[in-house]
């Protein structure tokens, strides 16, 4: 009798225990944390099937990439344009985030990656193992970050880097602060309280914005640079770009940063560069990229850019996000290599850059940079 009670009580426990063991085995599978993209990366091999036709004109098969969500809408435009020209090709891009994209690229799971940051040394080494040749970063997506504010009656706000940093720091708390007045001698500023708005999610936009603040106003902005907004600063947070802009719209006295394409007709501040104030524009964003030096100590073909956030170049808008397309310089699988050359070549073309500008509001890269990227793409070894 007692035995049967014990058995009855223990039975569910045993079931749970057994199930836990079974599932623990599944859980340790390294793929489980990226469940979503598993299917897109698994199709990788299928590209080899149609690889017999070597001619450029009839590309076929499928190409898989993953990475930054900042590139997502541009990537959709690129994929649509490229697949329109090559009907037998399927390009997949999983916007899992820059880190996940680099991880999948360096482990050889995807043929190319999109990333808001260039590969670091460790990743370069891992990528070289996966590719069998060095990997290179190509800056194909330049997204200006606009500073949007909500202050009726003040249309042409100008903000120097230190003023901007102090606003987001919480040091400057009202709009008629002497520092803001000094930047805007002609404006009549109200005494409205300032509410800085930042992203609540981790984001490349935040990372680039704080990088700018740290570079252009190093004495004011001393917080750690990461995609997460520094904890403990006053202000509001909004989820993703629409959340930030919604918060800016919601109350007077707010100021926030967001991808320029999404800002629409909100009032934006001109940023102090050297002696002048520069409004964001596609040309101004491309100008800062051209004025910036290349990152040193990398492969010959690599075009990783050390953005000169503190540039004093006239007409350059320093708050931009560069999202790279990361590819191998050699592909063992001929078909994959041809597809990468075709697709990335299309991204770097006038047509591709214009498609991204139309779809995502990005700033087309300058003709010089374009030519340089095309040369790198041409040099990719296939087969």
């Amino acid at each position: 009798m007692n035995l049967s009670i014990a058995r009855r009580r223990l039975a569910p426990v045993a079931v749970v225990g057994a199930a836990a063991l079974v599932l623990a085995a599944c859980g340790s599978d390294p793929d489980t944390d990226n469940g979503d993209d598993a299917d897109s990366t698994e199709t990788e091999g299928s590209g080899g099937d149609g690889g017999s036709g070597e001619t450029e004109s009839d590309l076929s098969g499928s190409l898989n990439g993953a990475g930054a969500s900042s590139q997502e809408s541009a990537m959709q435009a690129w994929i649509a344009g490229f697949q329109g020209e090559n009907p037998d090709v399927t390009v997949n891009y999983a916007p899992d985030g820059s880190g996940a994209g680099r991880e999948q690229f360096t482990s050889g799971a995807v043929a190319f990656a999109g990333s808001d940051a260039a590969l670091d040394e460790e990743e370069l080494a891992a990528a070289e193992t996966a590719c069998g040749a060095p990997a290179v970063d190509l800056p194909l997506f330049i997204d200006p970050i606009a500073i949007a504010y909500n202050l009726p009656g003040v249309d042409n706000l100008q903000l120097g880097p230190e003023t901007l940093a102090n606003i987001f720091n919480g040091t400057i708390t009202t709009w008629n602060d002497p520092a803001i007045a000094a930047d805007n001698p002609e404006a009549t500023l109200p005494d409205t309280a300032i509410t800085p708005v930042h992203r609540s999610d981790e984001s490349g936009t935040t990372e680039n914005f704080v990088e700018y603040l740290a570079a252009a106003a190093p004495s004011v902005w001393t917080h750690e640079i990461s995609g997460d907004w520094p904890a403990g600063l006053p202000g509001e947070a909004g989820a993703q770009t629409p959340g930030v802009l919604q918060a800016v719209d919601a109350a007077e006295g707010t100021i926030g940063y967001a991808s320029a394409a999404a800002v629409g007709d909100r009032t934006t501040a001109a940023i102090g560069v050297g002696e002048e104030f520069v409004e964001y524009s596609a040309e101004a964003a491309a100008a800062v990229v051209d004025a910036s030096p290349r990152a040193e100590g990398r492969a010959e073909n690599d075009i990783a850019i050390e953005l000169a956030r503190d540039t004093t170049e006239s007409g350059a808008y320093p708050i931009v996000l560069i999202s790279y397309t990361i590819v191998c310089t050699a592909y063992a699988d001929a078909n994959t290599g041809d597809l990468v050359k075709g697709f990335v070549g299309y991204m770097a073309s006038d047509e591709g850059q214009q498609a991204a500008a139309d779809a995502a509001g990005s700033a087309p890269i300058s003709p010089d940079l374009q030519a340089e990227v095309q040369a790198v793409v041409e040099s990719i070894e296939v087969g």
Binding site: A19, L23, C26, P95, E202, A247
Partner: protein
């Protein structure tokens, strides 16, 4: 233990035990499979969380978000999760009980039915819509009230100013959550109130009780376990709610104040940071999910315990 004199040998009894027909067997197997499956799924989720969270606990504390280890990363989130849920319960519980009693004991039958449908309808609205409603409609309208609280009751820690300029605060998130859990608590309470034995009610009335006294003496004691179950189900929903909080709340670091921007919940943190996370950060988020899982489990077990403890006094027998 007294031994019975002659336990009849099992096989000898030609007990009129019905012959198991295929249908019986299939049905018993399918129910058993369903029962086992739910345990397997639960164990699977727990195993996944534990395995994926492990690297967080093994990692160097300096590498965890915030640089001070997992505990200091997760406790503000736990606080935020509990704060949002408690605010929601404080608002929703009296309202839900009022609505349930009105529907079961006060409203004319026809109206009660309509009202019941409307309340159930609230449960069918997706949380994204609640989020949009909270951020676009509710937040600007409650902003003034929160500012008043900060100005006049600012000496109480939870109302410390300055109030958020957009109204997207923990208190607003709590109000949205309250609306979301209202139908759950209402539906369950209404059902148990309707099941109060008519004899109990009539006895109370016959003893001279007013309607309110009858409800207090017969309906509420009878329904107490049901009310608690409803509240706990609502609490579970409030603890785990993701989208509405992620959209409405202006997230930030820990603060006692419920009327400024700041604080975050575990579920919202995961939803906001997971898309761009990789490596250890992913593990950290999953570890936070494990903590939420444990909290929910504890809440449910506590609710079970309360319900079973109260059973004898409920008057249900």
């Amino acid at each position: 233990m007294t031994t019975t004199a002659n336990p009849p040998p099992r096989q000898a009894t030609p007990a009129p035990r019905a012959k198991a027909r295929p249908g019986d067997r299939i049905f018993s197997w399918s129910t058993r499979t369903a029962g086992v499956l739910i345990l397997v799924v639960l164990a699977g989720v727990a195993a996944f969380l534990i395995v994926e969270a492990l690297p967080t606990f093994q990692a160097d504390p300096a590498e965890i978000d915030g640089g001070e280890g997992f505990f200091s990363y997760v406790w503000p989130l736990v606080f935020g999760t509990l704060a949002a849920a408690v605010i929601a319960l404080i608002i929703a519980t009296p309202l839900a009980l009022g609505i349930a009693l009105f529907i079961s004991h006060y409203a004319p039958r026809r109206m009660a039915q309509g009202l019941g449908y409307v309340v159930d309808l609230l449960a069918a609205i997706p949380s994204v819509v609640y989020g949009l409603w909270g951020i676009q409609w509710l937040a600007p309208r409650v902003q003034g009230a929160w500012a008043w609280l900060a100005d006049n009751l600012g000496f109480i820690p939870i109302f410390t100013g300055p109030a958020s300029a957009t109204g997207r605060t923990m208190l607003t998130a709590g109000v949205v959550l309250a609306v979301m859990i209202l139908p759950i608590i209402t539906a369950i309470s209404r059902e148990v109130f309707l099941q109060t034995p008519t004899l109990h009610e009539e006895a109370a009335l016959a003893l001279g009780a007013t309607r309110w006294e009858m409800i207090r003496m017969a309906v509420i004691p009878f329904g107490r376990p049901g009310i608690i179950s409803g509240i706990m189900l609502g609490l579970g929903r409030a603890l785990g709610e993701t989208m509405a909080v992620a959209m409405v709340l202006s997230t930030g670091g820990f603060t006692w104040s419920m009327v400024t921007s700041g604080n975050n919940t575990i579920a919202a943190e995961i939803a906001l940071d997971f898309p761009e996370s990789s490596g250890l950060k992913t593990n950290t988020l999953i570890a936070a999910g494990l903590v939420l899982f444990a909290i929910t489990l504890a809440v449910n077990m506590f609710a079970r315990w309360v319900v079973s403890r109260r059973k004898e006094f409920s008057g249900a027998n």
